[in-house]
């Protein structure tokens, strides 16, 4: 398939590489031209702008930072698109913003999917991302071969915006999950109990989770290298809280968690992995 990939950051670069490996003809564009070099070396064609990249493609994929970036890039795509193009945004943005962008693209004759991912840089490199898509059945069918090069668990969740709703739900669970494990460790440590032993014991029971297993191990190793940067998790939880505010939705746990991530960003932990919330807890309880 002829695919354009826009945005070649930590996530976008390995995702685009996996499309090339999957045998697709990939055109790339990135704001900073030097980000394109590794893709060009792997056989991709470089484009001068999103509009230029979109010309003559069957599928366009964007992976950028935030809603205004997606809107801007997709405006370019709309300008360069030919009839029948499917555009997919895999960034994490607010569901309402995704719907709006979908409507704008529809007016330009482009079918849009919001298809954010979970699994981090590791999942992007291994091609094992979870992909949660919202949009039309037809657009999903078109994009599926590309999704299967990048991810393992590919789900068409529902109509436009449903993918972002799912991603927000994912960030609620992972945000509170990381905080829950960190609080359990702080609790154990303050009581003089070995956190590693606690983790081992809990892994066999109902407190088992992937987060306890993976993030829990990294907390024990005190390995705070990202993974998933806490400022990005804060950004995602802000999407959750904004949406809850607009809808009149009571989310007390998410609200408390969002404030912890807010404090992490404010106290200079934003570039560390979200498990650094453990450090913040330790500071608050005088354990640091």
């Amino acid at each position: 398939m002829r695919i354009a990939f826009l945005g070649l950051g930590i996530m976008g670069r390995p995702m685009a590489l996996n499309l090339i490996k999957g045998g697709h003809a990939v055109t790339v564009w990135a704001r900073r031209a030097e980000s394109m070099a590794p893709l060009l070396n792997a056989g991709a064609i470089g484009a001068a702008s999103p509009a230029d990249a979109a010309r003559g493609q069957e599928l366009v994929i964007s992976m950028v930072a935030d809603a205004p970036d997606v809107a801007e890039v997709m405006r370019g795509v709309a300008a360069g698109a030919e009839p029948g193009l499917v555009a997919v945004d895999m960034s994490t943005i607010a569901p309402a913003a995704a719907k709006r962008i979908g409507e704008e693209l529809a007016a330009a004759g482009v079918d849009f999917l919001d298809a954010p991912v979970s699994g981090g840089e590791v999942g992007a490199i291994a091609g094992t991302l979870s992909i949660m898509a919202g949009g039309s059945e037809a657009a999903f069918a078109r994009a599926r071969p590309a999704f299967e090069c990048m991810g393992k668990n590919v789900v068409h969740v529902g109509a436009s915006g449903a993918g972002q709703v799912t991603k927000a739900a994912n960030q609620i669970v992972t945000g509170m999950g990381v905080l829950a494990v960190a609080e359990a460790y702080a609790f154990a440590a303050k009581n003089g109990v070995d956190c590693g032993k606690v983790r081992e014991a809990l892994l066999g029971g109902f407190a088992y989770s992937k987060i306890l297993e993976n993030h829990g191990q990294r907390m024990l190793d005190r390995n705070f290298k990202p993974g998933f940067k806490s400022w990005m998790h804060e950004k995602d939880l802000n999407i959750v809280m904004q949406t809850a505010h607009e809808l009149g939705l009571c989310l007390p746990g998410s609200a408390a968690t969002a404030q912890m991530f807010n404090a992490m960003v404010g106290s200079g932990l934003g570039e560390e992995d979200s498990i650094a919330v453990l450090k913040l807890l330790e500071k608050l309880s005088g354990q640091a």
Binding site: H245, G248, A255, Q259, N262, A263, G266
Partner: protein, 284 residues
Amino acid sequence: MKVGFIGLGVMGRPMALHLQRAGHALFVWARRPETSEGLPATVCATPAELGRACEVVFTVITGSADVESVALGPAGLIEGMAPGSVLIDCSTIAPDSARRIAARLGENGVAMLDAPVSGGAQGAIDATLAIMAGGDVAVLERVRPLLECLGKRIVHVGPNGAGQVAKACNQMIMVAAIQAAAEAMRLAAAAGVDCGKVKAALAGGSAASKVLDVMGERMVQRDFTAGIEARLHHKDYGIVLEAARRSGVPMPLTAAVGQQLNALMAQGWGRDDTASLLRVLEVQ
């Protein structure tokens, strides 16, 4: 002085009348013309026309976007206000938004004060509002006689935006206090104790507050008609939590109270008084 007034709701209308009674020539513009009926004022066709006619313009409207559109939008104040004139925005909006409007007007030589108020509809009627002003102190001194028609306590907090920051702090403390009063009333009722008696007992001690006095009484009487509509506090909490986020400052209590306000909105009580936080606690 020729004074313009935009936003003739429960707060704006009595404020505009105080200015008129003090001898100022009143000019008004209203999105819904019927709200200006019966006012001793010249009705203008657009904010620009009002801006052209006035030396000082007051705005008391709901959201950041509304103020920006009235001030800077098509046929907005900016198209009419002359250099040297002053916009006094008494709305509660985001500090960033206030700074943006001030900067844009400043390019045309028009001064702006963000001057949000506290004291509610009763304070507006009694002209006892607390006014927290951000902007140039010399501009504030020039318009102080006008503000003195509206309120007793006028404090210059700092540069543009500082008034809105102070107002955000005011809303955080006030709504958290309403939530605290609601929880106390809920606990008393659940324990089979008379809420009115508890409130009376507390009034003399360290827990005494204006909120317990006013909102607490509404809770005791179970009179939830607004005072201040809860949806406005809900809107303000959006501003406060966004400001917290921008500053990287944790606000665990504010965040928790914000969720109770979300629940209040979901129950359909946005047009009732914020004392309805008590009813949120009663949802089973």
